[in-house]
């Protein structure tokens, strides 16, 4: 086996355990240390999961775009597996953004949802990456599906800078950036501290789960390869002479057993 499952587990644990500990710590900060925001009250505490989830979703989709671009260039299977694993995480974290946002917005803005640019583009991002998974299974061959999905993964990531800049370019109900600003973060130091711990914790958790998912995808590839090798094995003696050309084209080489068994049963 080319991939060490033990290595993947150890890596996931090495990232996951500090991630869980930091998560407990940032929850402590959020609910015991950080002061309550003056105008919005306690509901502002949703901010500490809403913003990190958005950042990690963008990070995940960035990984998808990068791996997809290199996959289209080099055609290496593991890059597609990495892109698919990151896309799963990206969809999970975008779902967190899209559920925590309305819960905050209902009390802050008086509405669950409004079709303003940032919200609409984030929803579009979520749909694009749902399409990323759908397009994989909607093609004739898996290879074709992977290439189409890679294109969707790259195109979807073009939406990320639009989402970030939408509050500056368009009139928006969504607040202006408070952390990623050219003139520095405009946030209470305690709030900023809790936010950065939350970001660190979820980034570690994301990479732990991404690694575990990627390891699983590699093992699934290994299973498929072994199953394909086991299927080719009965026909191997028939084409034992040329060798390399035999397994590459199982269809034309061994039409006999399939058709004969079908004919026999009929």
């Amino acid at each position: 086996m080319s991939l060490s499952l033990r290595g993947v587990r150890m890596g996931a644990l090495a990232l996951g355990i500090p991630g869980v500990l930091l998560t407990v710590y940032f929850h402590w900060l959020i609910f015991f240390e950080v002061p309550t925001e003056a105008s919005m009250g306690i509901v502002q505490r949703i901010f500490y999961i809403h913003l990190p989830a958005a950042w990690i979703a963008f990070l995940a989709f960035g990984i998808v775009a990068l791996c997809s671009a290199v996959y289209l260039w080099l055609g290496e299977e593991k890059l597609d597996q990495a892109a698919r694993s990151a896309a799963e995480g990206g969809v999970i974290f975008t779902t967190i953004v899209l559920t925590s946002g309305p819960l905050w917005g209902k009390l802050a803005w008086g509405t669950w949802w409004t079709w303003e640019p940032r919200l609409t583009l984030t929803l579009l991002l979520w749909f694009i990456y749902l399409g990323y998974f759908m397009v994989r299974n909607a093609t004739e061959t898996p290879e074709r599906g992977k290439r189409f999905a890679a294109v969707v993964g790259i195109v979807g990531a073009l939406n990320i800078p639009l989402i970030h800049m939408s509050v500056l370019w368009f009139r928006s109900l969504h607040p202006q950036p408070v952390v990623a600003r050219t003139d520095g973060p405009q946030l209470d130091p305690q709030m900023l501290n809790a936010l950065l711990w939350a970001l660190a914790a979820w980034t570690l958790l994301f990479f732990a789960l991404f690694l575990l998912r990627y390891g699983t995808a590699r093992l699934e590839g290994e299973v498929e390869a072994r199953e394909a090798a086991a299927r080719r094995r009965p026909s191997a003696p028939a084409s034992a002479g040329p060798g390399p050309s035999g397994p590459a084209s199982p269809g034309p080489v061994s039409p006999g057993p399939g058709t004969s068994s079908a004919g026999g049963s009929g």
């Binding site: 086996m1 499952l5 587990r9 644990l13 996951g16 869980v20 998560t23 407990v24 929850h27 402590w28 959020i30 609910f31 015991f32 309550t36 009250g41 306690i42 509901v43 505490r45 949703i46 999961i49 809403h50 989830a53 799963e88 995480g89 999970i92 779902t95 967190i96 559920t99 925590s100 819960l103 905050w104 209902k106 009390l107 958790l205 789960l209 575990l212 998912r213 390891g215 699983t216 093992l219 699934e220 290994e222 299973v223 390869a225 072994r226 199953e227 090798a229 086991a230 094995r233 191997a236 003696p237 034992a240």
Partner: protein, 125 residues
Amino acid sequence: MRAARRRTPLDSPFRPRSTMTAPNAPVPSLPGTVLATVAAAALLLLLPQAGTALELSEALAQGAPARRMRDFWHVFAAYAIAWLLLGGWVVAIVRRLGRVESRLAELPDADQIRDGGRQGEGPSA
């Protein structure tokens, strides 16, 4: 009561399905870690209520308006949904990993397949 007495360690609902269906498959050690993670996540689900307990108790003592009580519920719901989604992803990955591991244990290695083919040819040749 009777059902509880009859339950053996093999019937434990926490035991991975793959080991129940295929007793010879290697038992993955990861579910233990995952259970600990899920337990930590459950603790985190309770933290928002525990952490805001002082404010909540003050609000209740002062006869807080419905709007204020709704704030607590929205915060709790946001954190609960986030942790349920993350926990769901963890469980999905671990179940998938368990399935793949048991499937991999059933299949011969690629080298064995190649060697097996040659061995199969050997005696007949």
